[in-house]
Symmetry: C2
DNA sequence: TTGTATGCGTTATCAG
DNA sequence: CTGATAACGCATACAA
């Protein structure tokens, strides 16, 4: 069909053809102008710009994507969008990627691997150019999904054994080791551990740090002192309840993340106990408000900003092809913030 | 070009043509099968499914969108993704929209109208099917952007005078009125107000509720008791500092949102004061952990879940065309959570 | 420099 | 019920 005799002037949005027609140039020239892919004479440039302004043309990113194969959109799934840790990371990733010209499609799997898999499928289906994943856990479907895509993928927060992709994590075992050692130094011997799920590398690594600290201090390991959770507030509550209602209850409780520590504190309150007088508490993940509310939580602050920046950087490098072929693993350090929620044991 | 003699088997992802070829059917039949748009015989269905499995075909959403004009993606911009209020709303919107088959593209404007406008442009450019906006503020560019798009738009949290679109907000003035009345009933007369920006309807409405409560109680209005902020933590800190360092300092401080109240509490601490002994504190926006940390904040809990659900519902109704032509305004009620951060004034 | 023609992967129309 | 073919809006070799 002739490019001139179209566009009934009513229905749909103006296209490049309309611009070409009203500017009296060819569609290729308009395209060249839009992409600065070739020099367009000043005269035509002027006419094209006038035409664009007149009919309010905006280029259709879908058609453009179909042609170029790139959407300039990246997918981001996190285990829990309500978790301030992820929120902070997301905010940074967002900023970096946006200023690099990418939009971000965000999904939260709510610590549910089935939902996570669906969302990764959704994202891949939407033809994102790349993927940043904070995995809810290692699961076979996701592994297969990620392996079978040719899009660059960056893992954050948690590793997945079966995946050879770029990743940004913190030294979880080391971080926990340090906190537990600090608690032990305060005189505590019976230290309860509210653990994350073993399907998550963070769950496993943080528990490992706990064991290591105990062994290092020569403290025997008591199976009753470890309770599993799924990183949610309720899990922390239940775990702390179980820990604190046993005969020889722990004098300190460590929570493997921020949400569970709130649950644990609620359990402490519901049992009529107080922190740090009756039970010392520490955790991984800092709160921005930790210094203004009591108990002022002793916690390991994760370098959220840097995690986000590094993740975005790794992805951007892959997208622009300047990354080396082998996967890169960035390991960051947490920082122990000693506050008032752990008391010395007399 | 003949649909059979293509696909060099190496490079790009398999297309419908490949499926048609390996299944020995026509491309239209494959399409009919994929969309269930027409009955396909059992025999062909079987062959198509086998082919899809064999070559690992996945339908290209970009091409599909180009053809159908729908992306099944909706854009969502919030004023601040780090604010738990927005996070909660986002999480709900996400869930509802996802289960309706839509993906969500999220942007955070960080209370910056310029960034917000860019992001709305970005989203519209990505051809989202609809938009949910928590405006950083009324600004002309956004108003024009929203007005000129034919995509359905839903506003949440904040209204924009110039826009005749669906919206979900809470009764801000009423909510503040109630809190302030409660504080007045405790005996307070000098009540500082840490306000949001006047470019945001929430900023204006909440301040109006404050004035109304004072007038209702016959308390004179003192210009020195109101400090403007931009809903960020730092603003709350600065505002509270100014309020509490004046000669006849207020006995109570009300913060127009959650982030600023944390700043205010930090200021109180830095001044060597304590809450609620020296200064009572209340705010809009509840915290999930408010009951386990001291001071236990008295606050108005916004119905975050319902805000998200209603916003998603309004948008979905527009998308499916079952909505009435005129814009709908959903006004929800906040709930005053009385805790311990406000003390009676002897 | 500027214009023409073709294809990206689907969907949809219309014959068979 | 199935098959061929024309768009969807843009980019891009290639021709002029």
């Amino acid at each position: 069909m002739d490019q001139v005799q179209r566009r009934k002037k009513g229905a749909s949005a103006p296209t490049m053809i309309d611009v070409a027609r009203t500017a009296g140039v060819s569609i290729a020239t308009v395209s060249a102008y839009m992409n600065r892919s070739a020099r367009v004479s000043d005269e035509l440039t002027r006419r094209i710009e006038a035409a664009i302004g007149a009919i309010g043309y905006e280029r259709n990113a879908i058609a453009r994507s179909l042609k170029t194969g790139a959407t300039h959109t990246i997918g981001l799934t996190v285990a829990d969008i309500r978790n301030p840790f992820f929120t902070d990371v997301v905010a940074t990733i967002q900023q970096v990627l946006n200023s690099a010209g990418y939009a971000v499609m965000l999904c939260s799997s709510d610590e549910n691997t089935a939902r996570q898999d669906e969302q990764i499928k959704l994202l891949l289906d939407r033809m994102v150019d790349g993927l940043i994943i904070a995995p809810a856990g290692d699961d076979a479907v996701m592994t297969r999904l990620v392996k079978s895509t040719r899009k660059p993928v960056v893992l954050i927060d948690r590793l997945n054994a079966g995946l050879d992709v770029d990743a940004v994590v913190i030294e979880n075992a080391t971080a926990v080791f340090e906190v537990i050692r600090y608690v032990i130094d305060l005189g505590h011997r019976r230290i309860g551990f509210v653990s994350g799920p073993s399907v998550a590398s963070t769950g496993r690594d943080r528990l490992a740090g706990y064991y290591e600290a105990l062994r290092h201090a020569g403290i025997g390991f008591d199976q009753m002192l470890v309770c599993n959770g799924n990183f949610r507030e309720d899990d922390g509550y239940r775990a702390a309840m179980r820990l604190l209602t046993q005969p020889d209850r722990p004098t300190a409780i460590f929570s493997a993340n921020n949400l569970m520590v709130i649950g644990a504190l609620r359990a402490i309150r519901d049992l009529g106990l107080s922190c740090p007088d009756d039970v010392s508490v520490a955790c991984i993940d800092d709160f921005s408000w930790a210094d203004v509310f009591s108990p002022q939580l002793t916690a390991v602050a994760q370098p959220v900003k840097e995690i986000g920046e590094q993740a975005a950087r790794l992805l951007l490098e892959r997208l622009s092809g300047v990354a080396p072929p082998e996967p890169r693993l960035v390991r960051l350090q947490g920082e122990l913030m000693v506050r008032g929620s752990c008391a010395p044991l007399s």
